[in-house]
Structures are given as C-alpha cells and as structure tokens.
Point group: D2
C-alpha cells in the first residue's frame, strides 16, 4: 500500500505529521495530489481544541493541486489537470443546495464544510474530493499555485462578506479586523463599488496591506477610537455596510454602533463565548438594520469566478502569502502561523 504524509489532528494542542495510506477515489469522487495548501485561522481553533474535530482527522481545507485519479461516474476532467477546490464542497443535489444554500449542504449548519472537519483534508500529499463534478475547477493557464491559493477559502469568504452586505456603488463601508479574511473583505468592498472603505485593525503592517487592497482610510484602534472616528468620517451618518471579520463582542458591537439606520452588518467572524446585542445601537429593533452571516461560498462555479478575478488582475492577493514551508515542516508552520510571528499573513505549504 502506498502511503503519504499528512498533518493529523491528534488531540487538543497536538497536530502531527503522520504516514497514511493514499486513498482511493470512489464513485463521484476524485483523488487530488496537493501541490500547495495553507493553514487557516480555523485550523488554529482546531489545534487549540476550540473547534471539535475527531482525533485522527487530516486537517486543512484550502487545496491547490492536480487530479491524480477520477472515481467512477466522474466525467469532464482529465488526470493531470491542475485544479482548485473550494473549502466548502456542496453536493449540488440536496434540497438546501438546490435552494441556493450550498454552504449549508445537507441542511446541517455549515454542512458544506467537510475538508479537515468531517472528512480528511488538504494538509497532505493526496486528498479525496467528494462530489467531484460539482467541485473541481481547472486553473486557467498562466496562474501559479500561490496566485490562486486564496480562492478556496479566504478570498471566497472575504468577498462573500462584501456580497452579502449588498454593497452598492457609492456606499461607505467599514471592515473591522484586517486579518486574511478582513483583508479580502476590504478587496471585495472595492470590487463592489464602495466609495469610502475604512479598514480597522491594531497591527500597522496589516493596515498597510489594507491600503494596497483598497482601503481609503485605515484606523489603528490602539491609537484612535474607531467608532468616533468613523462617525466623524461619515459626518455623523454612519456607514452603509459594516463587515465584522473577527468574531468578538467588541467588533460586532462596534459594527452596530457605526451602522446607519437601514444599514447592514455583514458578519464573517466565528463567535465563541457570549454575544450580546447592544440594544441602543440596534435601535431596540426599530432601525431597519440587517445582520447577515456568510459561510465561505464553495463549489466549482464560485471557484471559476474567483479564478477569473485573479486572472483579470483586478485583485492581486499574492502579497498575502508572506511565508513558505514544506509539508514536512508543518508543525513548525503551525507554531509560526498560530503565534502570528514575523508579520505572517498566510503561509504556503508545499508537499
């Protein structure tokens, strides 16, 4: 039996590289040889035991690679083709998928998120892709792995925040937190036609990247009260759309505090602990506010669109890949990324 290296969740606090058999593609599946993958903030939650995953699970959900094999019934693809697969892999055929809720595939909350969660993931030499015909998307010629590495999750999620917020031409938008997802939300806000984009974070290097990706104004919350400053910048009006990209009471609440009546809070964060609605900012429910949440849109049509955005040069997210590691050194990469050393944004992992 041929084996491969894979990053496996052992127990809270421990992810280790192990040898695993290379899996075989069953009906409707594809076997993908991973050429580049990365680590997500969610993986750190898993590592810390904050998000429960079965011990023994290969983690990772951001795959770039090559089709190694196609299971029975999978047509329209060639072995050897370079492909991207989204972090979320909808089946396309269940009731929620057919109703437009592909991330909620199967009807369970976040049901479309399988890789590194309910099935083995991408931090390995090989990975099985379920519902392959709905999920494999060929990479346009001329694009490198690193250029498309943000497509499966970060870019899809961040753009999704801008899209779900319903940003219109001429909107004023704030994005709270400029980690990888917040940065992509900033880029998404620009792509959607916002005329004033305000990025908030406490790390100056991230605010610098935010500027390059579309922020008109940046606010370092360690130096300036963002709520007061945003109200000043919008002349007391508030923003049309506030994007939450962290998942804390503080940022959620700040979003509502700077939101105009009739505005939309587009939430991307994963919340833990307790989340309380600031009733005064929420106008006790009378402000025609909307709060929308978005789980990373997946499926091959989504990937096609994002790849086209990359290919067009509209957005260049390559600068987000700040560091590179071999799969063999993934434990070190976790330590590095998890502790946000050396201004890391995203790491590229290559088997």
């Amino acid at each position: 039996m041929r084996t491969m290296k894979a990053a496996v969740f052992i127990r809270p606090g421990k992810i280790a590289l192990e040898d695993r058999p290379i899996p075989t593609a069953g009906p409707g599946e594809a076997l993908m040889r991973i050429t580049t993958t990365t680590i997500c903030g969610t993986d750190i939650h898993i590592l810390k035991g904050e998000y429960p995953v079965a011990p023994g699970r290969i983690i990772g959900h951001e795959p770039v690679g090559v089709i190694a094999d196609l299971g029975p019934g999978v047509t329209g693809y060639d072995i050897g083709q370079r492909v991207v697969v989204g972090a979320i892999t909808p089946c396309g055929q269940c009731h929620p998928c057919l109703d437009g809720h592909q991330s909620q595939c199967g009807g369970k909350a976040a049901g479309g998120w399988r890789f590194g969660n309910t099935i083995d993931g991408s931090q390995a030499e090989y990975m099985l892709v379920p519902n392959a015909m709905a999920n494999l998307e060929a990479i346009p010629e001329g694009l490198s792995d690193e250029q498309v590495l943000m497509c499966p999750d970060i870019m899809s999620t961040g753009f999704g925040g801008a899209e779900s917020g319903g940003i219109k031409i001429g909107d004023m938008v704030v994005i709270f937190a400029q980690g990888p997802i917040g940065l992509c939300a900033t880029a998404g806000a620009k792509l959607k036609g916002a005329s004033l984009i305000i990025a908030v974070d406490g790390v100056s290097s991230r605010l610098e990247v935010a500027k390059r990706l579309g922020a008109d104004v940046t606010i370092d919350y360690t130096k300036t009260d963002p709520v007061a400053e945003i109200m000043r910048l919008t002349e007391g009006r508030g923003v049309d759309v506030a994007i939450e990209a962290l998942g804390t009471q503080q940022t959620f609440e700040s979003c509502l505090r700077v939101l105009k009546p009739g505005g939309t809070l587009s939430s991307l964060g994963v919340y833990s602990g307790k989340l309380t609605m600031p009733l005064e900012a929420f106008a006790a429910g009378l402000g025609d506010h909307k709060i929308v949440t978005t789980l990373c849109p997946g499926g091959k049509e989504r990937m096609r669109r994002l790849l086209n955005v990359v290919a067009s040069g509209r957005v260049d997210l390559k600068p987000m890949v700040t560091h590179r590691f071999k799969l063999a050194d993934i434990e070190q990469a976790y330590d590095f990324f998890g502790n946000q050393r050396d201004g890391v944004l995203k790491v590229a992992i290559t088997p």
Copy 2:
C-alpha cells in the same frame, strides 16, 4: 381660538384628555379631522414611561379621518376627502428616503415615526399631517373606518415582517406571539405564499384568530414546547422564516432555535433590557442566517397598497377591532387595553 379634545402624555403613568387649540396647516401640511383612531402597544410603553416622549405631547399614530384643511403648496387633494395616513410619515426628499429607507427618514433611527412621538398625534379631534403630499391617501369608496383602521401601523408592520423575511412560495414560517402585530404577520405570511404557517402564543383566543387569518398550526406555548414541536412539524428541518413579534429574549432566541441554516429571522419586536444571541443556534456565525428588523413602512404608496388589499377582500382584519370607545373615555380605554381585559385585540376610538 377653537379648541379640541386630545389625549396628552402628562408624565409616566398619566395620559389625560385635555383641551388644545386646533392647529393650523403650514406649508406642505394638511389638517386632518380624526374620525377613528386606536391605541397601540407602543402607546402603553409611553404611558408606562418605557419609551420617552416629551410631556405635553398628544399621542397616537394610527389616524383615519377627513381632510379639514390643506396648507400652502399641497395640491391634488380635496377638503372633505376621507383619508388614511401611515404611522410613519416619510418626507420623501431626504437622502435616506430617496435611498429607500423611508422609515429612517432624516437618517436618525426610526426618524420617520413622528406622530405621538416627535410631533402631536392622532388621539385627538384634529391632527396636522407633515409632508402631506407624500402621506395622505384617499380611502377607496365603500370601506368603513374600522376596515382600514389597521392600515397605518399594525397591518403595515405585520405584513412588513413577512415581506422583509423574504417569504417565498412553499416556505415554512413560524410567527412567535399573536398580538395584533403577530396576527398581521400571520396574515402576511399567507399573502406571501407560505405553505406551512405556525402561530405561537399563550392565549387561546388569539390562536383562534390566528387560524382565521392563515395559521395552519397553532402552538400554545403554555402547554407545548414550541421549539420541539416546530422541529417535529418541519421534520427536523427548521423553518425558512421565523417572525419575532414581541420583543423578548425568549421569543428572539426561540426564533433562532427553529430556524434552518440559511433561514431568516424577521424581527418586529421592540426590545428592552438585554438581548443575547444564542451562539449555538446561531451556529457561531457560520449558518448563513439573516436577522432583519422592520419598522412599520409608511407613506401614501404603502397605504394605497394596503387599502387595495383590504378592498380586494384578500384579508379581513375587521375582527381585530374587538372593542369601541369614545375619545372622551380614552383614559378608560388605556386601562382596558393596557391590561388586556376581556380578550381585547384592538380598540376603536372615535371623537
């Protein structure tokens, strides 16, 4: 100077009938002679001091009547015409109004709500209508005052909850609380094509009215756990849209607990105290949930549509008027309505 009788907010705990001068219509205004009005749950909040209103304010925001006079610049109407005016009176000309946020007129939260709040209201013999050309709507021939008495607020708000929820043909919908607004939301859910409408309340007479207005199933929460029962009725799937029509932690939370991933919580209640998000039901922000709030849509176009719904016979809300009082007896009416005596739903007040 001619005077009139009017219900005036004196101080928390005290609303009294007083003599007031009949006002004069300024530019853009109309003077309306009230023929029928009613008391809203919000007025009870004002009475109790839970919603702050300036002492001396004439309260009430649900006017049916006759045009008594037209101020300079108001054209297209005749003195003596029977009209309805919405509880919310948008100017139509400010930035938020032109942007589609008419209830948030002027850009202040709930800024479109003026009657009995920031200007004198309808529990009087006469009332000034601001921005008359955007707000006066003629009553179609053949409709009685009581038939249209729900249009200014209750019907507009309740239907608004169904509309903002984005109810589609074949949706499963629950409405928590069957007071006047919840009942109208139930009627609205039917008008929007829901195929399963579940109404929840603890008062059996209200659940009876809910059935007449469109509920397929009613749940008396004093006897049955609504969350478990709704999950059973939807075969574990959850509802597409949950409408909150009370404004409590309990009902808000129950809405989220029965909502499918990807579903919409449409909130109509006015919250006080504290509101906490149940993170597990909210899927920690990963469930593609939407929470939308709706303040009673107003303006004459909205009134025209609601009047047409009444005229068409699609919905008959007359049974909601359960009791009648003279304006002279309004203090008694407040006591009666405020304490929900005798199965009261709405009272008709006639000067």
Copy 3:
C-alpha cells in the same frame, strides 16, 4: 427482455403507441414506473412538427409514479416510494446549476429540459430519471396522483411567472391567456399577494376557472378590448406586472401596453414566427420596464415546495384535470387535447 407501451414521436403529424424495452437504471439514475402523466401544449407543438424532436423519442415530461429501481450511487430513496419529478431535471453540479440557473442546466438554452426532448419521457409505463438524487421527490401521504399531476410543469411554470414578475403585496397584475399555464399564473399571482388580478381569455369556461383560482376580474377579449379595460380598471395607471402565457405578438404587445412605467412583463409563452417590440408602449427604452422569461423551474426542492402548497390546500388545481384517458388510448387523447374539445384543460393519462 421485458417491454412496455410508450407514446413515440414518429414524424410530424404522427405520435404512436409502440412497444419498447423497459430501460435499466445506470449510475445516478432511477427507473420510475409511471402511474399518471399528462399531455402538455408543448407536446402538441412536437406533434405538429413545430418543435423538433428526434423521431423515435418517447415524449411527455410530466411524470407521477413509483420508484421501480435505483441505479448505482442513488441513495436516500426506497423502491416502491411514490414520487414526482419535475419536467426540468437539473444535474445540480454544472456551472449554470450551481449559479442558480437550473433550467439552463449545462449552459445550453433550456438545457434542463430533457424528458420527451433529448431523452425518453413520461408517456410510457416506465421512464429513466437522470440525476435522480437531484430530482426524485416523495409525494406527501394523502395526496392523490391527480392532485400532484400539475406540479412537474404547469404549476411550476405558472407560479414561476408570478415569482419572476416579482409580484409584491398590493400589486395589480394581469395574466394574458388562461390556458393551463395562464391559470396557474393566476393562482400564483394570488399566492404572491396581488390585490387586483385580471385574467384575459376568449373562452368563458376558462375565465370561470380563473375566477375560482384567484382572478378578481375577467376580460373576454372577444367582447371587450382588454387594453382599454385594464387601463380603466387601473385608473390609467397600468399594471405592476403583466404575465404573458401564450406566446403571440398580440399578447406580448398587449402586456407592454398595459404595463406601468417601471413595471415587469413576465413572459411564459413560447414564441414562433416574429416578435416585435411596440416601441411606444416600451417608451423607446426609457420606461424602466423589465421583460423576464421563465422556463419551468425543476429539481426536487422545487417539487417539495409545490407539493407542500398542494398539501396545505392553499391552491386546488384538481379541477384542471377535466378528462381521463388510458395510455392505450393516448392517440385519441392527443386528438382530443390538441383540438381543445369539450372544454378540456388537462387530461390524466394512466398506464
């Protein structure tokens, strides 16, 4: 080899009952035993040679029946289960399906329409269902075949016309032509909350059915000029939504002539010959008009919703089944239906 009876398109002018082998379910497919089916206006176009279909094709696209067999990989269903399948059978996994254009499956115009078009159809004892997991929907207990016979096409298409038109509560709507699809559009307009529904046709029995399904006003165009009458009924305003349910220059043009500026023409008809835009009614392109076309939405989620509407009793389309035939007599049924004898609306065909 076991054989079955099937209605086969031989050549323009000739559909004949033939013996055919009962097919075998391949991967992803299901074999359905048809218990009831019907004839569509489109089948008449095929019969007349107006819509091209390969000679030898079994026609029909409105199947009600029982699962006879499941091909490899089809899970979640039981043999013997009563099911409905839509006329349109999306795969759920191609780019257009994942992008929400399921009727345009594969990216070819009307690509989701396979039965009786590009693959064998339902006017037979057995039929193969492609992409079975995206298309088989169980019939709720207690519903008869005839109660659900309109779901696969007529009801889905007619309701689709009301949905695509974006009908809002209080809208004024006209539906031109009250054949089976127009009648379902009338029912759909009511389900969506229209307050004035005007049905136009030249056959009084159809106008009678229209009234039962929701029309407030009917216009017999052989006696009254519909354009003038609709403008009178709407007091010169025009309708918000005009639904075209025939596919002729005359009805298309009349829709535009009675449409308000900013209104929507929702087109369901299949046009042949020539279609010219009446530029004056179209305001030369300055009227903010929308023209939307809708091909019958399919897939099991759509069927689930329609079945729920039937089960809820909101709409009763059983009266539309006016005549019944045995599959053995289908040639006679074609003659009967094609020539609209005896006030026929839809015929039920049972093998």
Copy 4:
C-alpha cells in the same frame, strides 16, 4: 427685468441663443446659476426633431452650478453653495417615487425627466430646479466643475446600466457602443466587479478610452465580427450581462446573440423605428433571459453617491471632456458635437 442668455429649441433643425428673463424661484424651487453644462446625445435628437419638445423650450439637462436663490419652504441649503442636480428630478412624494420608480415620477413614462423637456433646462445662465429639496446636492470640496459634469446624466445612466444588469463579482460583460454612455457603462461594469469586460465600437479612439476606463478587451466591429469574437472569448458560454448603449436593432440583437441562457440584457439605448426580437437568440422565450431598461437615475441621493465615487478617485471621467465652448458659442458647439468632429466625447459649456 434682468435677462439671461439661453439655448432655445426653435424648431426641428434650429436651436438658437436667445435672451430670456431670469426666472424666479417659487415654493419648493431653487434658482441655480449655471457654471458648467454640456450637450447630450438626446439634445441632438431634439435638434433633429426626432424627440418632440415644445418650441421655445430652453434645452439641456446636465447642470453644474451655484445656488442663486431659494424659494419658499426650501431649507437646508445656502445661497452661493456649489451644487449638482441630476438630469432626472424626482419629486420624491408621488406614488411611483415612493415605490422606488423615481425616474418614472408621476407615473408617466420618463416622467422624472423634466429639464429641457417639459420645463426649461440647463443650457442657460440660470435655471429653476423643481422639488429642490429632493434634488440639490452640494459638491464636495476640491472637485472641479468638469470633474462632476458627468454626474447628472452620463455617469448615472452608464453606471445604472451596470447596476440594473445585476453584475456580480466574476461576471463576463459586454458593452455594445462606446459613446459617452457606453464608456460610463464600461466604468460601471468594472466598479461592480466584472472580471471580463468587453467593449465594442467602431471608433478606435473610443476603444482607447474604454481600455482606460476598465475594458479588458476591445472589439472594433468594423474589423471583427463581435458576436463570433465574444463567443470565442467566453469559450462558447456567452456573457452574463450584455449592455446595449446605442439604441439600434443591430446592437440590441447582438446583445441577445452573445448572452448566456439566464443572462441579462441591460438596455440603455433610445430606440426608434422598429425593434424586433431575434427569436432564436431569445430561445423562443425559454432561455430565462431578462431584458431590463434603465432611465438615468436622479435625485440628490444618487448625486451624492456619484460625487463620492468621483471624490474617491475610483473612476476618473475627466478625460471624457474633450472640448470646451462658451455658452455664447453653443450653436457652434451643437454643430461640433452633433457631427462628432475631432473625436469629441463631451463638450463643456460655460456661460
């Protein structure tokens, strides 16, 4: 009586500079001193007698200037303030305006278009602004007249074409015709996140500007068949959105021919003569196509948004002002612009 110079429509073929009394602001109106205006393609239609306007009408509908006086009841503005007013001046208070159809103000097709059509326009030293409170928008500090001169019409219309088309991130879009409106539609497509923007015209200098404004690919239809080339560029898929910016059978038809099933034709052109639907490209009505028309959105909220886009630097339309004339020379400017001499795109006219 003080007089002013104004460009007056005399009769088909004749627009002349005349002396006219400076008008006085009535209730709700403002008097605007024009500092810069321009000529629109529509004005050329008026000149040629192709669009009927009353003889004696001062034409022009693209005003930039200064508030000279405020009529009774107009508050919130200062005399001397620099302002822009849209070509379309909604009242904000009629039923269509309150229903979101501001360009169709009053319910007549194109009813919101008043300047240089039903009331005197901007090609003069002074102009009255109706419904001033809904229409006057202050120019942000630091922006020149020429920078904002496209806001009243060209930019609002062109962007409107992209908005009505519902362009999503990653869409493929074509814009047929690259006159001033088509160029702005090209810029709008980029603002909305299209990943492939194809601009078609026959004038190479316009295609050059198109590239600067966002076109990824340009097609000179005098050299290349645009339909074949677009199908090649989209790999046979067709575009998601096709914008028509001319108003001819040829461009309308080409839009449909390159449109994917389920796609949207967003029409901006003003059609004359005859317009026929190419039924095969229209899939006989079965392709889930949408055709939407857009009349220049107006009102001060729209102007505020466009001014913010200009101020943000997202789009720079100043290069579109290719020539400058004094109001005294406007007859010459008409000749120049009407005959498209010297690569003219837009002319700035200053009194």
